[in-house]
Symmetry: C2
Subunit: 332 residues, 2 copies
């Protein structure tokens, strides 16, 4: 309604040049009113959507290929948390202006992860924003009927498992947000995990029939685990000594390490629960897929969350993490 | 990353209070990492996404319930253009601040259309924007395997049909954008069709097996019809005398009427093609559904678009509409 600047490429040019990949037989991709996605008998679709806003979810100076990667990665993380296999995605891109170099880099990063994950771009929308870049990706994945890893399925005595190693995104955000003194060496170690998360989307479907409940860690381990506990109506014990630490954490003091491990967001790793009977399967399956997994606690019948520190003693200020409740877009 | 203002409601409060409807058995709705949607045997999913940005796709003073209605309606229009029946939707809402009255009204308008259309809200994302309201809705609909109304299926000698009556959104946009002198009476007549479009989503699935190609009119009849022609590799003749005119057009001069009918966007009515053998079925089926339909031209083997004016003569400046190519978010 109020556009005024001239762009070198039209909306249709942008879509045709950067966002119209070929699609497998049986799908209808970009270029019609809707995309069409077939679903195999015995399967259901898992669907999720996440928005990234410039200067909120990524800084404007982030290389565009990494923005493209992350816009899809955070959504693949949601599919992984259901045990769903990526099938297709839609991309809504709102841009303040046409920057062809940015579009080329962004689409390269996005398409590379599409290819790696088997997630085909089948539709979207391109609009002009008033201010900053806004990216909304919707992903569709396939999961066998009634087997999705729901948050409310944790059982007492389940092990609690984590993929990956935690803490680096927290460190990177502290440094980028200038909450900590500048430290280029530390930032260099921590930044890749913030800018280029790789959720375990390939492996997560292997957990079906073994894991009970799962969630991805986007808002901080304790806050996200509490969603499982709240929905399952059980409690948990977490042993900080067993939490897998990213190597950058060795440069932090103890208080910072607790913060990074328990409240650090933007991890896009999985937290899942499974019966102790599944330990051998999980370790073997993860090793074959080259996914790091660690057992970090257990589900308890008592509906209380207990956090044990690095020394094995109950954490004195555990309530700080429990009530802190991680990242709230409107509260911070 | 840079939030600072305090909102009275948290992100989780907003979702719980306004955006967590109950869902039918077999679906998983808002509250897990993904939504889960079952698909019946013999059906495929049609998926589409559209973004509305404040001051571009709607003015800030638009009543919030109408914004909620339109955010879903423009997406239901895409499902209708495939002949798909609405099943579910996801809502990504980016807000500069928490305004509870706005949220209440917006969600009321959104949920009312969800209920009317049978489209269940099953997921979404709530974030804080830097500037203005940004709404991205993704819809999922069900369509029998291989029966979707694709743009490339028009056949020579097909009739071209339109639902509804065209022109009112164009008039409203001219007045709101102050391209025309203020005229409160005219605006009052035209505005409801701009602010509260009702695409023929209930009826569109009845066209399967009868219509060949379809598109919804969002960017202007001629531009949108050209997508069908380009993909089908045929031409068309359009008879302006047969175009169904909204009653507000009687207040316009002839040049304005042509503009409104041929280039006016934001209609969210259907343009579809069908064999002349289907005329009786279409008229009968539309009458039963209380949908207005009109035959306005035909598909031709010659790949040319010919526009005949109100007097039945070839329109002298028809090329103006053909090359104008309607609304381009980056060119205007």
């Amino acid at each position: 309604m109020t556009d005024s600047a001239q762009g070198p490429l039209s909306e249709f040019d942008i879509i045709a040049r950067y966002f119209t990949p070929s699609v497998p037989a049986g799908m209808v991709g970009v270029g019609d009113d809707c995309a069409i996605i077939p679903v195999r008998p015995g399967y259901q679709l898992a669907v999720s959507t996440d928005t990234l806003i410039q200067e909120r979810h990524f800084y404007g100076h982030t290389p565009a290929d990494l923005v493209g990667h992350k816009a899809l990665a955070v959504n693949l993380s949601d599919l992984a948390a259901m045990g769903a296999r990526p099938r297709a995605c839609l991309l809504s891109l709102s841009l303040p202006r046409v920057d062809e170099q940015w579009l080329q880099d962004f689409s390269a990063g996005f398409h590379q992860l599409c290819t790696d994950s088997g997630c085909v771009l089948i539709g979207g929308d391109t609009t002009r924003s008033n201010h900053g870049i806004i990216i909304t990706v919707t992903v569709l994945g396939e999961v066998p009927v009634a087997q999705a890893l729901l948050r409310n399925r944790a059982q007492p005595d389940d092990d609690i498992w984590l993929t990956g190693h935690l803490g680096a995104p927290y460190v990177a955000l502290q440094l980028l947000g200038q909450h900590w003194p500048a430290n280029p060496d530390l930032l260099k170690l921590a930044l890749p995990r913030l800018q280029r998360p790789i959720p375990p989307y390939h492996w997560a479907p292997e957990l079906l029939g073994h894991a009970h409940a799962a969630i991805d860690i986007s808002d901080g381990l304790i806050q996200d685990l509490q969603h499982i506990l709240g929905r399952s109506e059980f409690g948990a014990q977490i042993e900080c000594a067993k939490l897998p630490q990213h190597s950058v954490l060795q440069h932090l003091d103890e208080a910072q390490r607790y913060e990074a491990l328990l409240a650090g967001g933007d991890e896009f790793e999985l937290c899942f629960t499974a019966s102790p009977k599944s330990r051998a399967y999980i370790l073997d399956s993860a090793a074959k897929a080259e996914v790091a997994v660690h057992r970090v606690g257990k589900i308890t019948l008592a509906p209380e969350l207990q956090i044990y520190g690095f020394d094995g003693q109950r954490l004195v200020d555990e309530q700080r993490f429990i009530s802190a409740s991680g990242f709230d877009h409107f509260a911070q």
